[in-house]
Symmetry: D3
Subunit: 238 residues, 6 copies
């Protein structure tokens, strides 16, 4: 039995609230249960120095956690003067995942920065960030299309992410913090709307996992991601 009472293949309630703040070209509050991440996509009409004059754009992500998004307060990274290793890993993962569905040449010489700031954490912040960040990115890109700065939409598909794991011997979908902290294996799966893999990151926390366990987790993830992409579509059509 899962701590939350969910069945093994059941997502938490997912909410995508577009236009959560007013300045950004895309602004989405994504909720996976009690995990709440504010994703804003900002369009800048310039690219990093190493990309100049190459006719291509760039999509990147930054991730942060408000100090008291967590059960006990975490030091503010700006005050400590450096981002933690975990933060850097996560924002690199979000950036790679989003770029996997963007035609950077079609984007032109501009940069979209997707900021993912966790207001409240209850496990799965990185998967929520990717899933919600995609919607913010889609909105930002749409402003460019509407403003006729882009002839065609540079997004060639959806991307969403979910965690799976082995909890008390059972493969489960979308772990919350209570499960995550005692899971034997934790895996983040990022897929596109064709059901193909963009990234797979699985880590044994307790004992090493076997191939059949891996297979069961990937099956759960595939079904979960299909639900998430459906939720993205519903949100974007609203």
């Amino acid at each position: 039995m899962r701590p939350s009472g969910r069945s093994p293949d059941q997502l938490r309630t997912v909410r995508l609230t577009r236009d959560f703040t007013r300045h950004a070209e895309g602004s989405v509050l994504v909720e996976f249960g009690d995990t709440r991440v504010l994703c804003t996509a900002s369009v800048e009409e310039r690219v990093p120095p190493w990309l100049r004059n190459k006719g291509r754009g760039w999509v990147t992500a930054e991730y942060g956690m408000l100090p008291r998004a967590t059960g006990s307060r975490t030091d503010r990274e700006a005050a400590r003067g450096r981002q933690q290793g975990r933060t850097i890993e996560i924002q690199r993962l979000i950036g790679r995942s989003l770029r996997a569905v963007v035609d950077l040449e079609a984007l032109g010489e501009r940069r979209v920065v997707v900021d993912c700031d966790v207001l409240q954490a209850d496990g799965g912040t990185r998967t929520a960030a990717i899933t919600g960040g995609y919607v913010a990115l889609a909105d930002a890109v749409q402003t460019l299309v509407r403003a006729r700065k882009l002839r065609r939409n540079p997004l060639h598909g959806h991307v969403a992410a979910i965690s799976v794991g082995i909890h008390q011997g059972t493969p489960v979908l979308d772990l919350d913090y209570a499960e995550d902290s005692e899971a034997e294996t934790d895996m983040n799966v990022i897929m596109n709307d064709a059901g193909h893999f963009i990234e797979v990151q699985g880590t044994a926390e307790g004992h090493a996992f076997r191939r059949p366990e891996l297979d069961a987790m990937l099956d759960l993830a595939g079904a979960g991601i299909a639900e998430l992409i459906a939720a993205q579509r519903t949100s974007l059509e609203a």
Copy 2:
């Protein structure tokens, strides 16, 4: 005429939403019109090294702005590796203002950190942060009282803050971003519930201001702060 259509002595709509997030001992979303700041108060059962074994506690504040809280994206301070001068000034001001109504000996050897993170900025973020931060602090302190860790409430009054300025020759209350960016003078006033001053910071932006202008601004501030303290009371009694 003010850009917002308000009368010179009119505050923006003020909202104080308690328990906005679930982990912190106090968590308040404060809104002054379109300015939205999330204030969380975290209780820690230890004090900074320089205060150890002195029988007193400490209240401090940290301030941050999400990168896209503003019209154009601001660099993330954690990524740049240092907080800006403006950030440091503001968080020191918030901390001093809150400490002015706390009996630190009554608080005992513990620290309360009030984190003020701007989700959306439209002028007056520091005054909103002080006003909302006070409510978060009150809630955090109340958890200590309820848990019988404190015999009496160490808060000996309310504190609230508001901006005043000279806009197109007229003294006005609670400037939004449109007014602030073209004001000739900008002043932040922090007062307690006895109507006395905790801090006054006035800066000439365009021309230097005269004593009668200063007097008019202080009059406006006094009335505004009385309204804000009433709103704090209403919120805390709810």
Copy 3:
């Protein structure tokens, strides 16, 4: 009775020694009693990146304290790798105050940096820095006029600063360290030669202060600043 034996409205002995060092375009040692600050103004024939090609110049200030300017040694900020919040606040205040009397367009595309380094501290270092920094700035600007790089003097007035406070219930002018450390209220007032306010920063240290106390402090400050501006004039005419 004040610790120094001064009357409540009495400044400490003020000395302004021009050409204290030989390299800078302006170099002034300012003394308010035992407080000694070396102010140098350096002219640079370029502006910060965000000002380029706008036809305007810039005046900025930096502030530092020698490690043993104070009663016990303070860590060297260069060795710690960051400036303290207090330092940043002070240098921003000095810069704003000086810019308030400069016509930046008349200055042309150049930058003047006013470095204020405290050789010995006894309270009031920031007000001494502004008062002495103005004289260094005036000298630096004069070298540009004499070299015919400027057609007219871009300074359109004087600026000086003084602290006032409530000490043992009495409003007093120009607090030294002994008074400052036990004052109930501390206020820094920056005014121009027309007697108008450029900046007012008052902070309750002990109890909150009332409007009549504020009024009495502003009166003292006005008289003190008139004396300081007279001293600046005498020094510059020498």
Copy 4:
């Protein structure tokens, strides 16, 4: 055809040279073809602050690349003042992988640091580092056993790592730089000597990969890792 002429399931020549330098408790030069990484394991008789008095030890890793280990010179991280995101990701991965085969309680309150410094890079530096780092760790732990500081060996198995990918449509094992830079998918697989997974990290570089491709890559990895563990055994028995 692979650029190196290898068959798809063929490792590069693997060499493990123990005692490559003389100071460290374990010192191994690992070579995967032209990739050369010096792994040293250092035993310290203390643990990080957060582990004190818990009766457990710690194993951690640090990773670095000599500036000219690569085709064009990379900035020295010590001179830039921060480690790159890629470096941080890699050293966290190495540390997690090695800890997966260590009984930290049996290790006692001491720390082993495994430093992996790339002398020459030709793809696969992180997998070489894990594979060679294990041997250095085994040697370091053995010095503790021989010195009777440990009653039993806290290593409960082997760990090794290999990269797999899709190159020109074909799943291949142990990519060198030439293959890696044009691979469509890149996956690092870390396994123990029971053939179970410790970590799986797969990233689509070009197009998203399908489940059968994932399965084929995992099959190749399993065979490759068995060979690497055999090489570790041979080396340690020498």
Copy 5:
């Protein structure tokens, strides 16, 4: 002919002004011609962590240059967030030189920090700093003796420093900036009052120097240092 008109073996006018500022246990303004360095010695009743409970004290130095001590303004190191290589080299040299005449066990478990801040630079700031820093250290140590915290003076000799060089083919003593910037060889010599070497640092700037040139420079240095030590004695006896 030297630019200054001095003979090859002639020092600039040397002045040592004790008690230049009032807070430090030792405070000396040292002048070698137009080079002016403020040296303060601060006694702290604790030692660095690595020296605790070893029954020995420590003497260390820090060096800084005010931004406009030089002909054109140098960036403030505190603002840049790091000390330059040159600064670090110099302060290490000053510290080593002073420690060479201190019996650290006789000093007891305390630290003396000698801060050397250049108010005006005209060549030879490091040699002036050592020569003046010694006098500040002597004064600071004397306060400990007078306060009966030390039974005997831990200084077992004098130390002074001077630069020598080859200027237009001629060996010269105590180079000022004009000579230094065009010297072919520059050497700093630190000696004690027995005429023995504490440190010798010679650098060829233009062409490599020969043994007879080295010998001539060392002869000049020996005579110059004897004069400096005499000046230290005169100053300390005043």
Copy 6:
């Protein structure tokens, strides 16, 4: 008797292995006994900003020590976020020494970076780095000559370095760690192939040294450097 059994004027076995790694334009492993330093010289077709458009090139050096090159592990400088003072001093010394034999105008507007990374330390790492770095630099420059990017070789001589010291009252050549840690005086001498001095750095560790001791050390150094330059020639002719 020296701990190593060497006679006072005997170098350790010196080995210079060219092409130790394959990417750099020059790559030399230099060994002075158990001290092993990998020196790579990298050619970059650009110069630092302050040298642009001046028709001259630049040669610079960076120095690092692998964390376990030493008897006990040293913190990784990249992880600590700053290079130590000792590192900065050494790399500045290496750079100055190498530039002393380069005609920077003949090098043209390009930069050569010589990275010296210590794989194993046993005293004398900086002198080994200079001696081996010269060979790497010579190889790098030769690639430019062969590629006809340079008409003539910009090296106008050899440079090598050796340490000398006073060990148990006897002047000795090329100190290893055992000697260095108990030497009374330690001196590094850098000379060219004409037997002239490029740099001399002598430091009294125990007692101050006398002129005859200095002379004896310089004699030893001269003979040792002649041997090293012969070894460089042999290596480069191979």
